[in-house]
């Protein structure tokens, strides 16, 4: 595990696995949170000052640690505090094309998501789920509910979604997006 250098930009991030909500800090490089999550050479995401909550009481801290790692394979979602911390815009959507925004709904593991997908041209759902080898894709203006505790809603400007956990994805019904 590498030590987190204080000279790098530190971002606050919410990491959602099916059992826990972890609020932690990550040291960002030029590729942002998405770059760290999609780095296939490292299976753990280095995190510091982490505070852990169980989903039954997502506001209460059940544990904490100073420095540790989050398994990317078992991480379902990562919610950024700021959109720019997720990564540079060139990484978040391809090329120099003008993106269109689509309201979508998705089931990702034990989470239900409403968010905005940005992509050139028409809404291409396979592009979201299977097109590249990247483990995580990004959605914007997301709201997240845990299916077992739907009263708690979490929201953020950018959400990294682990494609392995996606069970369904669809354009949001009109008027309900």
């Amino acid at each position: 595990m590498t030590d987190i250098s204080s000279s790098r930009h530190i971002a606050q991030v919410e990491l959602f696995s099916e059992a826990h909500r972890i609020t932690a800090r990550v040291a960002l490089g030029s590729t942002g949170i998405l770059g760290l999550l999609n780095d296939s050479n490292v299976s753990l995401l280095d995190i510091e000052d982490a505070y852990i909550s169980r989903w039954s009481q997502p506001a209460r801290m059940s544990g904490s640690f100073d420095l540790g790692g989050q398994s990317k394979a078992s991480l379902t979602l990562a919610l950024a505090t700021r959109r720019e911390e997720m990564g540079p815009s060139g990484m978040l959507r391809s090329g120099y094309t003008k993106p269109n925004a689509y309201n979508i709904i998705a089931g990702v593991g034990l989470f239900e998501i409403r968010a905005v997908a940005e992509m050139p041209g028409k809404l291409d759902l396979p592009a979201l789920t299977t097109s590249t080898n990247a483990r995580f894709v990004v959605l914007f203006e997301a709201t997240v509910n845990h299916v077992l505790y739907p009263d708690y809603q979490f929201s953020g400007p950018a959400l990294a979604v682990n494609r392995a956990f996606i069970t369904y994805v669809a354009a949001a019904p009109k008027g309900k997006g």
């Binding site: 506001a59 904490s64 809603q153």
Partner: protein
């Protein structure tokens, strides 16, 4: 300029907050552990606490609850600053007892605005500490508490019940209320609340400081403060200087002070009545009580008591009144301000030590007074 306490385990955030708050003209001190912060807050209560929710030695929610449970810190505004900014986090912090919530990263302008807003907001429902008295006295813009004196020259007509119900009804209206028992003849409030205070006004020094007055108060679960009279009859009664110091202190701390006066015009009773905004005179429909009430009404202006007297006619039993209403009004020269019907629940409440106003607020006695207060709140 206010004394603030910052409790945050992150030294960088602690330094940053200190710098921001110093620039805003405050004097902050920092604790890097929740336990240390709790100890310092109890030893030297600050005017505002800024705390982090996520600390390794104690959950911020638990810390807030501990601060709220202590008399010396219960009233202190708490501003939460945390990296967790979801709706569930904010709701949990406010439910735990925080007064404000800011999300990291901190915007200095937002921080100073929130701190200023919390410092100027008067706490509700909780007893403030004696230290805040000093702060309030320095601010001439702060209004003094409304003073209500329940006064009558004849005992046994439900005066203490009226004072307790009035104080409780005002508390339920969201006011910060203190009930003061002036009688030196043995405390009746011990019966009404089934309390045995550690201190009464008889234990106070001749000229008590606001802090000493505050420390002599008993705090009821409702938030009502009680300054009780001596538990057994005492010679003399409350000295005038002591009474002045008590009223000065209480009127700057509370929004309403209700005085349950003794059935005699001794100096502290006169003092309370003279500075009262409203004098309440309990009366029952029998000849002796009406006679005493009539004499009281005549005596008020002669003794420099200018507050509007409110005659409260109570029925102490289910029997028909001994005096017809017309005769009563003729004797008093006015109709009663309020007529309270007989409430069969009151003797039971007295026996149980739970005033009706807190235990059974839908009973006739409480409803009648609460309705009257609601209609006359603007002038109360």
């Amino acid at each position: 300029m206010a004394h603030l306490l910052i409790i945050d385990d992150d030294p960088d955030v602690g330094r940053l907050l200190t710098m921001m708050l110093k620039r805003a003209g405050h004097t902050p001190s920092v604790c890097y552990h929740a336990q240390d912060g709790l100890k310092q807050a109890l030893a030297q209560p600050p005017q505002l606490i800024v705390l982090d929710l996520m600390m390794p030695d104690m959950d911020g929610y638990d810390l807030i609850k501990r601060l709220r449970a202590e008399t010396t810190t219960a009233h202190i505004p708490i501003l939460v600053i945390t990296a967790r900014g979801q709706a569930a986090d904010k709701q949990a912090a406010l439910e735990a007892g925080a007064n404000g919530y800011l999300r990291k990263p901190i915007d200095p302008k937002e921080l100073t605005a929130q701190v200023q807003e919390l410092l100027t907001r008067r706490p509700t429902g909780l007893l403030p500490s004696a230290d805040s008295t000093v702060m309030l006295e320095e601010d001439p813009a702060k209004k003094l508490a409304h003073l209500h004196t329940v006064l009558g020259l004849r005992g046994g007509v439900g005066g203490t019940t009226l004072a307790v119900t009035l104080a409780g009804a005002l508390t339920r209206l969201g006011r910060r209320v203190c009930l003061v028992e002036l009688s030196p003849l043995g405390s009746a409030l011990t019966l009404h609340f089934r309390l045995r205070p550690r201190q009464t006004w008889a234990d106070l020094p001749a000229r008590p400081s606001p802090k000493e007055v505050y420390q002599a108060l008993v705090r009821h679960d409702s938030g009502l403060g009680l300054l009780m009279g001596p538990l057994t009859p005492m010679k003399g009664g409350l000295a005038t200087d002591t009474a002045i110091a008590i009223f000065n202190a209480l009127r700057t701390i509370f929004t309403d002070v209700v005085v349950d006066a003794a059935p005699l015009f001794d100096p502290p009773t006169l003092l309370a009545a003279q500075i009262s905004d409203r004098v309440w005179i309990p009366c029952v429909a029998d000849i002796a009580s009406v006679h005493a009430t009539s004499l009281t009404l005549k005596a008020l202006p002669e003794w420099g008591i200018n507050a509007t007297p409110q005659v409260i006619l109570s029925a102490l039993s289910a029997d028909p009144p001994a005096l017809p209403t017309a005769a009563l009004e003729k004797a008093l020269g006015r109709p009663p301000s309020l007529t309270i019907p007989f409430d069969k629940h009151q003797p039971v409440a007295l026996a149980q030590g739970t005033p009706l106003v807190f235990g059974q607020p839908n009973t006739p006695l409480v409803l009648a007074l609460a309705q009257w207060l609601a209609q006359n709140t603007a002038s109360t």
